[in-house]
């Protein structure tokens, strides 16, 4: 009985995962547990293995060893698209939007269980069209949330960098995630927009009970919104705790500033 309870509160349980590409070992023996409806940030310097970790969690790359348990189910060896279908949805560094689809189409593409995605659905136009209308409605609602309504029927390729970030986030939400993996959503975004994104995320957490795991470069940015911060360097977790406690961690300071103090 106790075991079940534990599973219920842990959305994601990462057990000792490692991966190597040739001589490079971007993720080594990483373990952590993410509890339901929490907001965790993964920080670390360039090359720490943050994105590699996301690639493993989302199934884009496969682990060499270890287990990834998502909502009670081992997912380390199943296809990326199936992981997304289970509700573990990721975004990419630098907002990958589909330029030659319209902004609304970018969102509508993400909807799960669309009968029109299946070739057999071609033979059932009525089901297809009613689903499509609903998808469009939801897309417009999402666009309204982030202030992109007026671009709905423009090619997404005309959006600015910041607008692309907003679209990328909205699109991930359209996929009905239980847990979102956001890869540097604030990189290269101006401070005003960072504030806006943070507000959107905070609101989502309240309204939709989504669990967040987010990669960020800069601890400052995610300080207030995070319940917990995991610090990575050289493929390993070097610190894990409340945001404030991270500031005082010597290992973290070393990782970011180099180990000058030891030399001195």
């Amino acid at each position: 009985m106790e075991n079940t309870n534990m599973l219920d509160s842990a959305v994601l349980d990462v057990r000792n995962i490692s991966v190597s590409f040739g001589g490079v070992k971007p993720v080594q023996n990483v373990s952590f547990t993410i509890s339901e409806n929490s907001f965790t940030s993964v920080i670390g310097p360039n090359g720490a293995g943050k994105t590699s970790l996301f690639n493993l969690l989302s199934g884009m790359n496969k682990v060499d060893s270890g287990e990834i348990i998502f909502r009670g189910e081992a997912i380390q060896s199943i296809h990326a698209h199936k992981i997304a279908q289970k509700g573990l949805v990721r975004t990419f560094q630098g907002a990958k939007i589909i330029r030659r689809l319209t902004v609304a189409e970018n969102l509508m593409m993400a909807v799960q269980g669309n009968p029109g995605d299946n070739l057999m659905g071609f033979l059932n136009p009525r089901a297809r069209k009613s689903f499509e209308a609903k998808a469009r409605e939801e897309a417009m609602r999402r666009l309204d949330q982030v202030g992109l309504t007026k671009f709905a029927d423009e090619y997404a390729g005309i959006l600015s960098g910041g607008q692309r970030k907003l679209l990328d986030l909205s699109r991930a939400l359209m996929a009905d995630p239980k847990m979102l993996l956001l890869d540097e959503p604030f990189a290269g975004v101006n401070p005003t927009l960072v504030e806006k994104l943070l507000t959107v995320l905070a609101a989502l957490r309240k309204e939709q009970s989504i669990t967040f795991l987010l990669i960020e470069h800069d601890l400052e940015t995610v300080m207030n919104i995070s319940d917990r911060v995991i610090v990575m360097a050289d493929g390993k977790i070097i610190a894990d705790g409340l945001p404030n406690s991270i500031y005082e961690n010597d290992l973290v300071i070393d990782a970011y500033l180099g180990s000058r103090r030891k030399d001195a």
């Binding site: 698209h81 589909i98 993400a110």
Partner: protein, 326 residues
């Protein structure tokens, strides 16, 4: 130049345009929607054309049943090509697809017992042991001509019958394909054209979408092979050289890869270019012999593709904006 004012010339152009048009419909959905660069499309046409010839001549099948099996085999081959090589990324798949069509052609060339080898389908023995020829395509087309004769007299020709068979199908397929391209299935496919990772991360099985697209395109290639067999009755391995694939590509690029509805106009333009070169008898082209002039079409087609790429990369009917988005 008189040739160009004869109705017969234009009917021939239309017959050719219809066959190549259906052929290029396959490339259109593969490349224009799915971004799959298939340079081996001619292989599908060869497989279905030869399937028909062998079944009809050697095993005395009816043309239509043989045609059905030809298209099924082309689809099957598309699936085989996809399952083995579609996981390769863009350029690598393009190269593999060329090799695939060449394998098909070499197999036909070297399997004398089945396909007649270098001599073409004439060398396929029929059950009486004689050289293979089937009058089925003639019977089908003449049946139509006979019915047209009372109405239009001497203008009723084999080519005209062919046009009347091919073009309704061509328009039907354009319509079906354009409907298909409005579905959310096609939307996902367009996304895979730009970036595999995005649809994958949103729960879409990218490989399934691409494989389906390759098979649908192969079906169009196979159907073009049926029309080819109907038009020419005799097939030879050199009918299915790589250049045929690029004829299809020219039509596609001319129309604009993402615009299926413009395809028929581009197909007619191609048919004209293909059919007209041998009739260009003015100086200095008159210095060349007729077969030499026929090769001009290859140059002309190359020239058209280059000019389009420079001046109008979106094709005649494409949207320029789609080409410049970053």
């Amino acid at each position: 130049m008189e040739a160009f004012i004869q109705p017969g010339f234009w009917i021939f152009v239309l017959a050719l345009a219809g066959i190549y048009g259906v052929f290029s419909l396959g490339l259109q959905i593969q490349y224009g929607v799915g971004g799959i660069m298939n340079f081996g499309h001619v292989g599908m046409m060869a497989v279905s054309g030869y399937t028909i010839a062998v079944l009809v001549i050697k095993y005395q099948w009816s043309f239509w049943w043989a045609a059905l099996l030809g298209v099924v085999l082309a689809a099957f081959l598309g699936a085989l090509l996809g399952l083995t090589t579609l996981r390769l990324s863009g350029d690598y798949f393009a190269i593999a697809s060329i090799a695939f069509a060449e394998i098909v052609r070499y197999w036909i060339l070297n399997s004398d017992d089945i396909t007649g080898g270098t001599q073409g389908t004439l060398a396929i023995p029929n059950p009486d042991g004689f050289g293979g020829y089937t009058d089925q395509p003639d019977v089908i087309l003449n049946w139509i001509s006979d019915r047209l004769y009372p109405i239009i007299g001497d203008e009723a020709s084999r080519d005209l019958s062919m046009v009347l068979v091919v073009w309704p199908f061509f328009f039907l397929f354009i319509w079906i394909s354009s409907r298909l391209q409005k579905t959310s299935w096609a939307r996902v496919l367009r996304a895979t054209r730009e970036d595999d990772d995005v649809p994958r991360s949103l729960g879409k099985n990218v490989f399934r979408f691409r494989l389906q697209t390759l098979i649908i395109g192969s079906v169009f290639g196979g159907i073009a092979g049926v029309f080819w067999a109907l038009q020419f009755a005799l097939l030879a391995p050199e009918d299915f050289l790589r250049i045929v694939t690029f004829y299809g590509w020219m039509i596609l690029i001319l129309a604009g890869a993402s615009r299926v509805k413009g395809l028929f106009i581009a197909a007619i333009f191609f048919g004209f270019l293909y059919g007209a070169t041998r009739f260009l008898e003015f100086w200095p082209l008159s210095l060349l012999s007729s077969p030499e002039r026929a090769y001009l079409r290859v140059f002309l087609i190359g020239l058209v593709i280059v000019l389009l790429m420079v001046k109008r990369p979106q094709g005649l009917f494409g949207k320029r904006q789609e080409m410049i988005l970053e």
